[in-house]
């Protein structure tokens, strides 16, 4: 506090005490009519008057706040920027880093996030987007043009959060600088008229003023306050005044800064992490192995800085897949659970290691995490030509169509060995039942009474020219349907172990029974069909950093919101009938416990001096 009040009045009023009147609530109250007129809350007015009435309304140890913070004094008059580029830039920067801008940007961010929950998003639900396009062909192009299906990567959403974070950084930096300085500053001078403060207590006692203040200083210091003595000698009619000024709670601002900086940290960690992470998906059938290379994934997303050979070349075999179903007759019949993919991991040149992937319990392999996303059945099918030669033998994953009873759909493509290419499209029912309409449905998720139904298409599969095709879909353009509805042959229906003829004498198809030797088949053919697990391999080094910054944010938030920042004064004024002892406190920010703190300070101090107070005066 090196400012000097230049107000002539305070000099005129009975002797100027150097340096004291700039912290004088009495004088300030008279000098600052604009504070009286403003609609600011009484507390903010008090805060300002007690710390002097200069134009910023704050002193050096106050946290720095944007100029439109309710605690800073309203700017005097209209601030129009000085002409010139620099002036305008400075003005624009001030606007961007103001509280109001931060607030508006926050609200905009909230509003802008809403459409992403109303429309399907490509990143989370690509099929939903395709479906939406099919359902709303007219609306789609319009929505697409404003990036409604990529809201969180859209130009407008990015603009909002980038502006917010620029504003945030622009806000944090000067405040941090200021705060570092404030951490070294001394508590402000004791106001002349402590009685003007709301939380004030006074009593008169026969004690030694100097000793009383020394004791108070010690007491305040012991309870974590930074203290400073301000004594003035008697001048003219003014008595000698001994006082201690104390301040605590700098951590509040530290917490606020840590919180805001941690938000920047989260964003940076997420941003950098995105360029370095990869996520691949792969369906693995029991008994098969996949190798962690780009080629072996059915889909792979990787950040722009993930190189082709970044993947660790381990192999993973799905040995078996466990699942249990709630038994028939229970409340949640057919609900599946306790999924576990039992795998063997082999790093090149090392011993194979067993592992388990469960929901909520990803398996760590090196720096990758392997997740279990889904599961289903993979019927094993053998196709022979008219001569009985095997032309096709494979387990094919049939994807569950979404019901708990695990009705599944799949496609078998036979490219070679037969007179024509064949595509077989069909359903798999783990426990089949015939509806009254004659259609089939699955009644239960486990393999009690499995059935595979297939329709045969012959012609060109469209895979010879190297075009990548979805293995789970059949493009029937250019193919003839040979069985099923609209043809004169029934669909093929197979239980495990059954064989049926293909149309036109092309050969036979067998649904292999995979039941191992000696299995218990008393409740059904529960091991007759292989299962598959849909696994996701995920690599993201940013996650621990994001977590670290998030935890810092919470810690900062708790400190910023709950550490009280307050000033306390104890003053001893020598008078004719003893020493007047005054105690006062001033809150900086929300502080509901200030009054109690002042009382506690006074009680303890008076007790230590051996003063009995009757009756306490306020």
């Amino acid at each position: 506090m090196s400012r000097r009040s230049s107000d002539p009045d305070s000099n005129a009023k009975g002797g100027h005490v150097p340096g004291e009147n700039d912290a004088n609530p009495d004088a300030a109250g008279e000098q600052a009519p604009e504070a009286e007129a403003s609609d600011a809350a009484p507390r903010s007015r008090g805060a300002r008057t007690a710390s002097g009435a200069d134009t910023t309304g704050a002193d050096a140890s106050d946290p720095q706040r944007p100029s439109d913070h309710f605690d800073s004094a309203p700017a005097s008059g209209v601030v129009s920027p000085k002409l010139g580029v620099v002036g305008w830039l400075r003005w624009a920067w001030r606007q961007l880093t103001s509280m109001r801008t931060a607030l508006v940007l926050l609200l905009l961010l909230a509003v802008a996030a809403v459409p992403g929950s109303l429309f399907p998003q490509r990143s989370a639900d690509p099929n939903g987007v395709t479906q939406y396009q099919a359902d709303h062909p007219d609306l789609f192009p319009l929505l697409e043009s404003v990036q409604m299906f990529d809201v969180y990567h859209s130009a407008w959403f990015s603009a909002i959060y980038i502006l917010l974070f620029i504003s945030l950084v622009g806000c944090i930096l000067p405040r941090t600088k200021h705060h570092l300085k404030a951490l070294r500053s001394r508590p402000p001078r004791t106001p002349v008229r402590l009685g003007r403060l709301a939380d004030h207590r006074a009593t008169t006692a026969h004690v030694d003023a100097d000793e009383a203040i020394a004791a108070a200083t010690k007491q305040l210091k012991a309870s974590g306050y930074r203290v400073e003595r301000y004594d003035t000698d008697a001048v003219g009619s003014r008595p000698a005044v001994k006082s201690v000024s104390a301040e605590r709670g700098y951590l509040r601002e530290t917490g606020n800064l840590v919180f805001h900086a941690a938000l920047v940290g989260v964003l940076i960690a997420v941003g950098i992490g995105g360029t370095l992470k990869y996520t691949g998906q792969r369906v693995v059938i029991e008994g098969t192995t996949f190798v962690n290379t780009l080629l072996d994934y059915s889909s792979m997303n990787r950040g722009q800085f993930v190189s082709e050979d970044a993947l660790e070349p381990y192999a993973m075999t799905l040995d078996s897949f466990d699942v249990t179903y709630q038994p028939p007759g229970s409340n949640a019949m057919s609900q599946a659970g306790d999924f576990a993919a039992n795998v063997t991991i082999t790093h090149p040149g090392e011993e194979p290691e067993p592992g388990v992937v469960k929901v909520n319990e990803p398996l760590q392999v090196g720096h990758d995490s392997i997740y279990l996303l889904g599961n289903g059945y993979a019927p094993t099918v053998t196709i022979r030509d008219a001569d009985g030669e095997v032309v096709y033998e494979d387990s094919v994953a049939f994807l569950p169509s979404g019901d708990a009873q695990m009705t599944s759909q799949g496609v078998i493509k036979v490219a070679d060995g037969l007179p024509e290419q064949l595509g077989l499209v069909g359903f798999f029912y783990p426990t089949v039942a015939e509806l009254t309409t004659g259609a089939y449905a699955s009644q239960y998720g486990d393999l009690l009474n499995p059935l595979l139904t297939l329709d045969v298409y012959a012609g060109d599969l469209g895979i010879d020219d190297g075009t990548p095709r979805n293995v789970y879909a059949l493009d029937t353009d250019g193919m003839d349907k040979l069985t099923g509805r609209d043809t004169d042959r029934e669909s093929i229906e197979l239980a495990p172990g059954d064989t049926a003829d293909l149309p036109n004498g092309m050969g036979t198809i067998t649904f292999e029974d995979e039941t191992p030797e000696g299995a218990d088949d008393s409740i059904g053919m529960t091991e007759s069909v292989k299962r598959f697990a849909s696994l996701q391999v995920h690599h993201d080094a940013s996650a621990p950093w994001v977590l670290l910054f998030a935890v810092l944010a919470v810690l900062g938030l708790l400190t910023a919101l709950f550490v009280p920042r307050r000033r306390m004064w104890v003053k001893a004024t020598e008078g004719a009938d003893g020493v007047e002892l005054e105690y006062a406190g001033l809150a900086r920010g929300e502080d509901p416990t200030l009054r109690a703190a002042v009382d506690q300070l006074a009680d303890k101090h008076l007790a230590s001096l051996g003063v009995e107070e009757h009756p306490p005066t306020r």
Binding site: V359, H538, V554, R595
Partner: protein, 341 residues
């Protein structure tokens, strides 16, 4: 081995008992409010006494009792809460009934948990049961700290309506789905409900704050025109500014719990779905709510936004909380498909 279905039936019976008792509590509190309205006429002269003028950094709400708050600007025209200590018989009855209802409600929730053999917050019915229980617990708990019984009608009304209408969410006890078998279910969902409870109380205070601010404005106008202030139960309540301070303090507690919910959810998502953030609808709405309340906290610190405007933000924020629980759970597709419906 207790009979699961029987325990669950007792639980449901207890829920309806609690609803009935809450309804009685609501009525008692409503009678209290109407009595306050009457008193506001009687206390009028008393509060016309010269108001204390004190400059201070005192947060209005921090006055040791809400009754001693002074407002320098319009205190003579706006007698706010200068209420002499009164024995509020009906408020006491209301609180006693609310506490009794709470005990039934707690028993119902515990029984449901015992019957299911897990925490009773893993489908919509249970979320509603536990969530409203926590709202009541926070309200009753806060009464030890501040006399907020004037919110009694509001809180018991809210809880009665939410609890009774959530019976449409009722489902029988079924085993947990795999993704829910996690310690994070216990933490994440519980903290979310606890946060919601604080935000609900803050919401109630913000609504009363808006009503009080309006009355104060009108009272100033009336005083300028030399008219008598209207009778209103609001005259016996703390000033708008004191209400705002209370609302703010409850809201920041709720906000901290919500922040924790967001982070715990992300950690859980990392375990269950293989990524900590994926803009799933529920994630998006949790984020929107978080941002709205961050906006509210900022608004309270921004000149021109304190008071009525920031109160509106708190109200919008809580509307989003309710939306997130009901509409998002029921009608929006997403990975959080655990409503049990």
């Amino acid at each position: 081995m207790p009979d699961v279905a029987a325990l669950d039936t007792y639980s449901v019976i207890l829920v309806w008992t609690a609803v009935a008792i809450y309804t009685l509590s609501f009525i008692a509190y409503a009678v209290d409010l109407s009595k306050r309205s009457q008193e506001s006429i009687e206390v009028k002269d008393a509060v016309r006494a010269p108001a204390r003028e004190k400059v201070g950094a005192l947060n209005a709400a921090s006055a040791s009792s809400v009754g001693t708050v002074t407002r320098a600007a319009a205190s003579s025209a706006v007698p706010a809460g200068a209420e002499p200590p009164k024995r509020r018989v009906f408020a006491r009855i209301g609180t006693a009934l609310a506490a009794l209802g709470f005990v039934m409600h707690l028993a119902a929730t515990v029984l449901r948990g015992v019957a299911a053999g897990r925490v009773p917050w893993s489908n919509m019915w249970e979320f509603a049961m536990t969530g409203t229980l926590l709202i009541m617990a926070v309200y009753l708990g806060v009464l030890f700290w501040k006399d907020l019984r004037f919110l009694g009608t509001f809180m018991t009304g809210l809880v009665t309506v939410l609890l009774a209408s959530s019976s449409i969410f009722y489902v029988e006890i079924v085993p947990l789905m795999d993704p829910l078998k996690s310690a994070w279910l216990v933490i994440h969902v519980f903290v979310a409900s606890l946060g919601t409870a604080f935000l609900a109380l803050a919401f109630g205070l913000s609504v009363v704050q808006l009503m009080q601010a309006r009355r104060e404005r009108l009272a100033v106008v009336a005083a300028e025109n030399g008219e008598e202030p209207k009778r209103s139960f609001l005259r016996t309540l703390p000033s708008a500014e004191a209400l705002e301070g209370l609302a703010y303090r409850l809201a920041i507690i709720g906000f901290i719990f919500w922040t924790f919910t967001l982070i715990a959810g992300a950690i859980w998502a990392q375990d269950a779905w293989g990524r900590y953030w994926g803009f799933d609808v529920k994630e998006v709405w949790t984020f929107i709510i978080w941002v709205l309340y961050a906006g509210y906290i900022h608004a309270r610190a921004t000149r021109g936004w304190r008071g009525t405007r920031s109160a509106w933000l708190a109200i919008v924020g809580f509307a989003a909380v309710i939306f997130n629980f009901t509409i998002v759970n029921m009608y929006f597709d997403g990975l959080h498909a655990y409503s049990g419906l």
